[in-house]
Symmetry: C2
């Protein structure tokens, strides 16, 4: 064969989310943008904070262009890594070390580098809790690992240690968590993180090798109603944090984030070096330099959560008022709603008749649910409620 | 083992070029920046054109931030790909198709995606002509291929087809070229490209499968004295162009470039899909979005070559006048100089005594030569000449 069938498959297979979005575009052109309610994407609707735009323009207007746009070191500009470590230490008192922070093209790159760095043989397994972002499987399986799916506890979407225990074995190299979660919006409680940490400590001792906790945290700052996201390295030593500014600073296209190895991890420096080596192998020369300089100045800038908080409130009230059941949405910007019929695709098709575009979550490993991204305008939220009410009525929910 | 030894090796092994550069930094602090002549890096010294900076500031000042910084499609924003295709078609009349352009985080990502897309089994071989950028071996070997090295013809550093023929076999999946070349500055002539194309056509027919020509072209626009760089897709159908704006627009840290599949390639659409799939597998969600919007406006902006041209002239006259021998430097921004003793490391050590920092090219697959990057200030060039003259005298060259 003259090219890789596996890569061809990945490149030619369409994304369901993207297809729904494209349908929405066509439909808006047909009947008017204000009559279609597209909840398909996870693209932030809140603009990047003005402080970030100001920093970009100031850097471009005043700094020497060859310094702004030149290569940084492969691991990232030290000033940027230092600013990030200082911000994390101020917030979490976690001993973050700039020498163990590797700047990446977003969390996707951080995850791929982590899998590639840790996987040593074909049989190395990484466990992820469903529902999870479907690309996890691609990132893991094409970078030397094998993704193993474990369901979250269905009543509250926290981690069920007995389900986890049924999946862990000697080949378990790592466990991936994502809290606040895409697609279900759940934030793992401190109790959940403590329980997971204690369980993994026990299994590490039993098997005599580290089990890494890879924590994918692009939504870390997106929490509502006083929910607290435990900072995982403070609970478990063998932790790798994969972070992105995509959601917190509304910079998803700019591809800026990092992988952080906990200084308390076993062989922390060697694991960090392996992540840097994986970055080389995957062709990441450095993370985008202007954005690194921006983060140096803006590491402590907080997201503007007010629009998401308001959308969430209005939508949650509207949906539960109409009779739908949603998972407790403490974080991220998604509502995870139980489909009133077992087949979420069939439900999404009926929703579409009301011009409501939602994402069936079968591909997230969780059939029977849909994801409703509320990173949209308030007008979209408000305009969608009559449709949802009518839909609920069709199903006899109200 | 709890992490990958291969990735650890890649991440912990220092870059020789980077070490020379770091030595230069320390030495400048000791004796003064104007007394150390550092020719180690390939970081452009010419600032990005003002039109590019103006475009960035204008976009940031006037466009809607969620549009500027939002995800583009995985293959890149269509307006950007269209602007690139139009520019290429205007210059080369090559039938470039936006639907076959995949925006990447620079040429390194384009190369990694190409290797990953094409390699189908462990035995798939890709041939590169030495001297070549040392990362080629990393990019190829960690993405499913096996790099095979063939020396260029030593008298003029063009391609020697008899040496190539000794290396080509049924497992040859592709051939990588880099013209203008890093580190030797040579531009392949039209005769060379025609000869290579005819040879590969013959071997394709003989083996009954495509042999892809992967052409790494970050220096395409950096040529001097009227040299012409043949546009390879116009000579050979099964061509993949890997391009970067790192050198032409002095944006190396921003990671913006593309992979282009020739519309005349066999299975062009499938090969393109495989490259897109490889991008997914390697964690490239999209190329940095602000830079894509910048390229949409600046695809036709030409580099400012005057400073490099002047540096090249002064340095070449100085070195050859002192008795050194340099390869004909038609392009890029490197002089490739024959070491006056067989061991280029020993020569570089002697040069260091004169505060001249040059790169031995053993790691480029070409012992006995050093690379002198003239992407530095004119003052560095002029200030270095007495040292080079003294060095030549030590070797009895003048």
């Amino acid at each position: 064969m003259s090219y890789s069938q596996e890569m061809y498959g990945l490149g030619s297979q369409g994304s369901e989310i993207r297809e729904i979005f494209e349908y929405g575009r066509r439909r808006k052109a047909e009947i008017g943008a204000d009559k279609v309610f597209d909840f398909s994407l996870g693209n932030p609707s809140v603009p990047t904070p003005q402080a970030v735009t100001d920093a970009m323009i100031d850097i471009l207007s005043t700094a020497e262009p060859t310094a702004v746009h030149g290569y940084t070191s492969g691991a990232g500009d030290m000033a940027c890594r230092t600013a990030i470590a200082e911000d994390l230490n101020a917030r979490y008192n976690c001993g973050a070390d700039p020498a163990l922070i590797y700047m990446t093209c977003g969390a996707a790159a951080a995850l791929c580098c982590s899998f590639r760095a840790l996987a040593t043989e074909d049989a190395d397994e990484f466990i992820a809790f469903a529902p999870f972002f479907p690309e996890y499987r691609v990132f893991c399986d094409t970078n030397g690992g094998k993704l193993v799916q474990v369901m979250m506890r269905e009543n509250d979407f926290q981690i069920d240690l007995s389900l986890l225990d049924a999946a862990v074995n000697e080949r378990t190299k790592g466990v991936v968590i994502n809290s606040p979660n895409n697609p279900c919006g759940v934030v793992y409680t401190e109790e959940t993180i403590r329980g997971l940490a204690a369980y993994l400590e026990k299994k590490q001792a039993e098997y005599g090798h580290p089990i890494y906790l890879i924590t994918d945290e692009p939504y870390r700052e997106l929490v509502y109603g006083g929910a607290v996201v435990p900072f995982v390295p403070n609970y478990y030593d063998n932790t790798i944090v994969c972070y992105s500014y995509s959601k917190s600073l509304s910079l998803p296209g700019e591809r800026i984030g990092y992988a952080l190895v906990s200084p308390k991890a076993a062989d922390a420096k060697a694991v960090y070096a392996a992540i840097c080596g994986a970055g080389r192998a995957l062709g990441y020369v450095c993370a985008p330099s202007l954005m690194q300089h921006v983060i140096t100045r803006c590491a402590g800038v907080q997201p503007n959560l007010a629009p998401y908080e308001e959308n969430r409130r209005i939508l949650l009230e509207g949906l539960t008022g109409a009779g739908f059941t949603c998972v407790n949405p403490d974080g991220a910007f998604y509502l995870f709603m139980k489909s009133p019929e077992p087949d979420a695709h069939a439900f999404a098709a009926k929703a579409k008749e009301h011009e409501l575009l939602v994402v069936p979550c079968d591909s997230f490993g969780c059939p029977g649910y849909v994801r409703i991204g509320y990173c949209v305008s308030k007008e979209t939220i408000e305009g969608s409620l009559p449709g949802f009410a009518a839909l609920a009525k069709e199903y006899g929910l109200s």
